[in-house]
């Protein structure tokens, strides 16, 4: 694999948590490389470390050892505020429970990442409008997110991740709250985004996603170890 073409890389990533006096190994020496413009899926049973791996790759968790790289840059040893900047510029993240702020409208949630910069600019607003249209949520823009269905919230979270136009999209269990029809819609959207050039990494239990032939690669985690 051409190293220059790798968008997401993990080098012997290990994460240990203190569990009382004992220590729990969530992830053990995981190494991987996801090429740019591909759609990869991480599968594995509950508690296997999928979400932790995604958090480490997105720079949201500091590893115990090892190194994570995004777009060729190591992010592990960056200070908190630099990691936040990298996350904002390079990664669009969709969380399992959508991570939308209740009490705020869908539109306010979409522009949350830009608040510390003085609010979203014209480009972001135009992109958000286009994405809301594309995902069929234009009419729900002013609706408080707690009034949206699970599928609508899922798409809303995806739009927020895409408004920044970040080259990497990471999704944690994106189909967990969706029915079959919404899973099909989401998969089609993700494949379209991949075809537009985004690198996509999703964790999932869902066979429909993991076994779809259009997905570029599947990684399987068991007890914090990546299976060969």
């Amino acid at each position: 694999m051409n190293v220059d073409n790798v968008m997401v890389r993990a080098v012997r990533l290990t994460k240990r948590y203190a569990a009382g006096r004992a220590e729990k190994v969530a992830l053990r020496e995981v190494s991987l490389a996801i090429p740019a413009g591909q759609f990869w899926v991480i599968t594995g049973p509950s508690g296997s470390g999928k979400t932790t791996l995604l958090g480490l790759l997105a720079g949201m968790i500091a590893p115990t050892s090892g190194e994570a790289h995004l777009a060729g840059r190591p992010i592990t040893h960056l200070r908190d505020h630099h990691r936040a900047l990298v996350r904002r510029r390079l990664v669009g993240m969709v969380f399992q429970e959508f991570a939308l702020v209740s009490g705020m409208s869908l539109e306010e949630n979409l522009f949350l990442p830009w608040v510390p910069q003085g609010g979203a600019g014209r480009a972001e607003r135009a992109r958000a409008r286009a994405l809301l249209e594309r995902f069929g949520l234009a009419e729900f823009a002013p609706t408080p997110v707690e009034r949206l269905s699970a599928g609508e919230r899922q798409r809303g979270a995806l739009i927020r991740a895409l408004v920044a136009d970040a080259p990497i999209l990471m999704l944690d269990e994106p189909t967990a709250a969706l029915d079959s029809e919404n899973v099909r819609t989401l998969l089609a959207l993700l494949l379209a985004l991949r075809d537009e050039g985004r690198t996509i990494l999703a964790t999932t239990h869902d066979r429909r996603l993991a076994e779809d032939p259009r997905v570029d690669g599947v990684l399987r985690l068991v007890d914090g170890v990546l299976e060969p």
Binding site: T52, D80, R87
Partner: protein, 394 residues
């Protein structure tokens, strides 16, 4: 600026989203600010009234004592005092208290010679509606605003009051304004002859002697000389009186303020406790913000604005409430504590007198500790892994 505005908008939205918590904290802060502001406003308003009153006093007031109590003083002593170097004038004054048993009202009757230029100059300092009573016309009176209201009189009206077993008809020719209410509230100002009649002061005697000096700073020296010439007299020094009032209000106001400090501390403990226990929803929200790229500083800034907005609103409500309580409702409960040594009849209405500096101090006292108390717990949460905050594992 744009960044701060965006964070302020977000913070205001957050305060609205957590309306219950915001209301509880704002309400508690309003109560504490109300109590502190009420003490401060009332103390300052009383101090101002007394300063105004003291400013119109003579440099020295000489009273005769008999059996340790004030007694009438012979007017002939006036000449002896006037001869002391440094004394410009020593004027006999006729005044005293007049009780109307049928109305249960106690009033201060003051007799003045309005033909005397010096008296007119002193009275010109006192704000009033109408005119002064004539010296040579019997039956004219100027009343304090509270006294006039008590009798239900307006300038031009007349009233008949008992004088011993007889009665005397008085016509109201003027009313002192409420801004000098503390020292004119219960005053009935009339000609000296009418005052003698009301108070039963015989000719040749007066209540006291008002002594004016060329150099007020020498009051102590002159007072000693007067005491040498009039053994048994009591001499009241205006400057001493002003210092006494100031000390009295400083002490009482300070004491009340000190009593309120535990309330402020209790409130801060409550804030600390409330904000330390950042709820699951709030922790998750901070996790979302961090996850979408907010830095720890951004989160803290937004929380500071949110807390400042709550504190500012709470403090503003407390201050406005205290203003209405002190100057509108006359501070029931508190006024008795601060003015406890004398009860004024008719009721006193204080003139609103609040300085911008006072407001600033009150706002700072309320807002700054509140914002600071909320920062540490927010910092503790904001420095956690966003991933852990979202999953509820930290």
């Amino acid at each position: 600026m744009k960044r701060q505005l965006a964070l302020i908008c977000f913070a205001l939205g957050s305060a609205r989203r957590r309306a219950g918590r915001s209301f509880a904290l704002g309400f508690a802060l309003a109560l504490v600010t109300f109590a502190l502001s009420a003490v401060l406003f009332l103390t300052e308003a009383l101090r101002r009234e007394f300063r105004l009153a003291v400013a119109t006093l003579p440099d020295l007031t000489v009273q005769q004592l008999a059996a340790g109590r004030p007694a009438l003083i012979a007017e002939q002593e006036q000449a002896a005092i006037a001869a002391i170097p440094g004394v410009i004038a020593a004027r006999p004054r006729v005044w005293g208290y007049y009780f109307v048993s049928s109305l249960s009202g106690n009033f201060t009757v003051v007799g003045v010679d309005t033909d005397d230029g010096a008296v007119r100059r002193d009275l010109a300092l006192v704000s009033m509606n109408g005119r002064l009573p004539s010296s040579n016309v019997s039956g004219e009176v100027v009343m304090g605003a509270a006294a006039a209201a008590f009798f239900g009189l307006e300038p031009g009206d007349a009233i008949t009051l008992p004088v011993g077993r007889a009665e005397k008809r008085l016509q109201l020719v003027g009313v002192f304004r409420s801004e000098v209410g503390l020292w004119t509230a219960d005053v009935l100002l009339m000609s000296e002859a009418d005052a003698r009649e009301f108070l039963h002061v015989p000719p040749g005697y007066c209540t006291d002697l008002a002594v004016h000096l060329s150099t007020p700073d020498e009051a102590t020296v002159v007072a000693r000389k007067i005491a040498d010439r009039l053994p048994g007299a009591r001499i009241v020094d205006r400057q001493l009186m002003a210092r006494t009032y100031d000390l009295t209000f400083d002490t009482r106001g300070g004491l009340l303020g000190a009593m309120l400090l535990p309330a402020l501390v209790a409130f801060l403990v409550l804030v600390w406790d409330r904000l330390t226990g950042v709820g699951t929803g709030e922790r998750r929200e901070i996790g979302v913000l961090k996850a979408v790229g907010w830095q720890t500083g951004d989160v803290l800034l937004a929380r500071s604005w949110e807390n400042a907005a709550i504190a500012f609103q709470g403090a503003a409500v407390g201050i406005v409430g205290a203003y209405l309580y002190v100057f509108g409702a006359r501070a029931p409960g508190l006024a008795e504590v601060l003015m406890g040594w004398s009860t004024l009849y008719p009721a006193l209405r204080l003139t609103p007198a609040v300085e911008g500096g006072q407001m600033l101090v009150l706002l700072c006292l309320a807002v700054i500790p509140f914002v600071v108390a909320g920062l540490v717990p927010a910092w503790r949460v904001a420095t956690q892994d966003p991933h852990g905050l979202l999953r509820g594992t930290v």
